[in-house]
């Protein structure tokens, strides 16, 4: 800040007006000289010219000096404005007491005002800092280092991969839980990370089944459980979420992990409990089913038609109950990866036909037609025929449940890129978007199922999911409310193997059924 001074302005003003005054004095002296010097008492022509030139030159010089002085002070003021624009608060030298000086004084007052306002604002902001701090915590920090340390301090394990599944960021928590150095985690594929802990996994087989979907599911989040180092070791539940750009392209994938302490113990107790309950239910049911079966079969003498009908009602409901118990056990076995699958080359077409036959009675009761539409060159698949049939029967049973009288259910299949996709389509009420996401969880029903009080414990689709995933396939549903639902699942095709003979037979039989 410059100290205002008046001396410079005075000097210049004095100089300008002094010179003008000198010029006027000189010219008036010369004028008197001219008047008294003529030979005849009048002025001579030479002195007149000298007087005019000299006085004119002096006036011009004074004017030029004045203009220069004014423009210099205006430029000074302009530099002051420039300084404000670049964030400074300059005070300018005030010279003299003219209009320009008053302008400079006004400028200085404005600068002072601006500076004090800025200070007041700063004080206000500082007084409200706690609030600002809170806001900045809920908005993502822009600073890379700050973000990095936030992630590092997270109590949850965190892995970020690029779109190809390569780890680009991993925090301390992950390396601690897995007991692996950071260097072993950086820049490796997520699948390579799982491979590194494979020998410590309690359920490597199941993890391998899940990993594909976990990484492949670019459009949906996935989860996967890693149980490490025997029954007492840590259990990690990994949640994967895709990160997409505004154009929907997959940019990265965030994997968070939560270490589960006693959840495994809870899981074990749950299994044990359900297994015991299931046994305790089976035992009395054995007596009931046995007794009813013996009466129905004539072991206790001949029975009337009405008795037979009543016994059949009782028996079929006992079978339903047994089925629920079986499904509970099945889900538990599948969930824990204890189920064994005998994978071999199998005819999907034959399997579909068998499944359609198995639900034939239910279809008849519901007055729903089951139609099979298969290509004639459908590839064989690699699978456990008994399990694939179970999936088909479950899906068909569901489709029939949600079909109205006179409607149809369509089973289709198509091969593409080493995969066979099977579809089971119904034209029922459809499933709401919210329900679709939870549908493959155990004990989940669509609201539709609940309101219609249809039978089933909500285990069928959970079983389907486990079985399909164990085959390395995927299961999903596309549904429109009011239009119907189509369930799809995929199975790996047997490379290059088409089964035309069984297919032709299947097509004929399916045609007969439809």
């Amino acid at each position: 800040v410059k100290t205002p001074s008046r001396s410079g302005a005075y000097r210049e003003a004095v100089l300008v007006f002094g010179l003008t005054a000198v010029a006027l004095v000189v010219s008036s002296l010369l004028f008197q000289l001219w008047l008294s010097s003529g030979p005849s008492g009048g002025p001579g022509p030479v002195w007149g010219t000298v007087f005019a030139m000299l006085s004119g030159g002096l006036i011009l010089l004074a004017g030029a000096l004045y203009v220069r002085l004014v423009s210099k002070r205006v430029r000074h003021l302009l530099r002051g404005f420039e300084a404000i624009r670049s964030g400074e608060y300059p005070l300018l030298l005030v010279e003299g007491d003219d209009d320009i000086s008053r302008l400079v004084v006004g400028f200085n007052q404005m600068v002072e005002e601006l500076r004090s306002r800025h200070e007041r604002l700063t004080e206000l902001v500082e007084a409200r800092e706690p609030g600002l701090d809170r806001i900045s915590r809920t908005t993502p920090p822009r600073d890379g280092a700050q973000l990095g340390s936030l992630l590092e301090k997270s109590s949850e394990g965190l892995i970020v991969t690029d779109r190809d599944g390569r780890i680009v960021l991993v925090n301390e928590q992950v390396s601690e839980i897995l007991g692996l150095p950071r260097s072993a985690l950086a820049q490796v594929e997520l699948s390579a990370l799982v491979e590194q802990v494979r020998h410590r996994l309690l359920n490597p087989w199941r993890v391998e089944q899940q990993l594909g979907d976990f990484l492949r599911g670019a459009h949906e989040p996935g989860d996967m459980v890693l149980e490490l180092d025997g029954p007492e070791g840590p259990t990690l539940r990994l949640y994967s979420a895709p990160v997409r750009g505004s154009d929907g392209q997959l940019l990265a994938r965030i994997v968070t992990s939560i270490e589960r302490g006693n959840e495994r113990e809870v899981d074990r107790l749950k299994t044990e409990f359900l297994s015991t309950i299931s046994h305790e239910l089976r035992t009395p049911l054995t007596s009931v089913k046995g007794a009813l079966g013996l009466i129905h079969g004539g072991a206790a003498g001949t029975i009337t038609a009405d008795t037979r009908e009543l016994l059949e009602i009782a028996s079929s409901n006992i079978d339903r109950l047994i089925n629920v118990i079986n499904n509970i056990l099945d889900v538990l076995t599948l969930e824990r990866g204890q189920a064994t699958f005998r994978l071999s080359s199998m005819s999907l077409a034959e399997c579909i036909t068998r499944a359609v036959e198995l639900v034939g009675e239910q279809a008849g009761r519901a007055s729903v037609t089951v139609e099979t539409r298969l290509p004639t060159d459908l590839a064989r698949v690699r699978g456990d025929a008994r399990r694939v049939e179970q999936v088909l029967v479950n899906l068909l049973t569901n489709a029939l449940k949600f079909s109205a009288q006179g409607q149809k259910v369509v089973v289709g299949a198509s091969a593409n890129d080493g995969t066979v996709t099977v579809s089971v389509q119904d034209f029922g009420k459809g499933i709401s978007k919210e329900a679709v996401g939870r549908l493959f969880q155990k004990f989940e029903h669509s609201e539709e199922a609940l309101t219609r009080r249809t039978q089933g414990a909500g285990l069928g689709l959970a079983i389907c999911r486990h079985v399909v995933e164990a085959h390395g396939g995927r299961i999903w549903v596309e549904s429109t409310e009011g239009v119907g639902s189509t369930f799809f699942f995929t199975l790996p095709a047997e490379p290059g193997v088409v089964d035309p003979i069984s297919l032709r037979r299947t097509a004929e039989r399916a045609g007969g059924l439809a």
Binding site: R282, T283, P284, T286, G290, G297, I318, L329, T333, Q338
Partner: protein, 128 residues
């Protein structure tokens, strides 16, 4: 394969009755009942049945242990043992077969086909 003498080992009296009626109705002439694994071991050699139909979940000695004991004794090792149990999980079947059983049947069973099921196992038609 025709079998006429069956030793049934079952702790639940109702199920014992159902099994007995079912087998008798289907032509088995001699049915001996035991209520526990110990009782089975005590009488098996004397009874010398064509087949032993054994429950798994029984107090004190379970079916697996009883089966192992029968298989270990020369006087009973030749008698085929078939489990008839509510323990339906895969690993439980494995345990049963490891104990030396000829087959594994699941409760609840159909009383009208029990005889055929046993026969199928004895022929070697399958462990399930």
């Amino acid at each position: 394969v025709i079998f006429t003498k069956v030793l049934v080992v079952e702790d639940d009296p109702d199920i014992r009755k159902v099994i007995r009626m079912s087998l008798r109705f289907q032509g088995v002439t001699e049915i001996v009942l035991a209520e526990s694994g110990e009782e089975c071991i005590a009488i098996a050699a004397d009874v010398n049945p064509d087949v032993i139909l054994m429950d798994v979940m029984m107090p004190s000695m379970d079916g697996y242990a009883a089966c192992r004991r029968l298989k270990a004794a020369s006087s009973t090792s030749h008698i085929p043992v078939i489990f008839l149990t509510a323990k339906a999980q895969q690993f439980e079947r494995q345990l049963g077969l490891q104990a030396g059983a000829a087959g594994y049947l699941i409760k609840p069973f159909d009383p009208m086909t029990l005889y055929d099921e046993i026969r199928r196992v004895l022929i070697g038609g399958g462990a399930e």
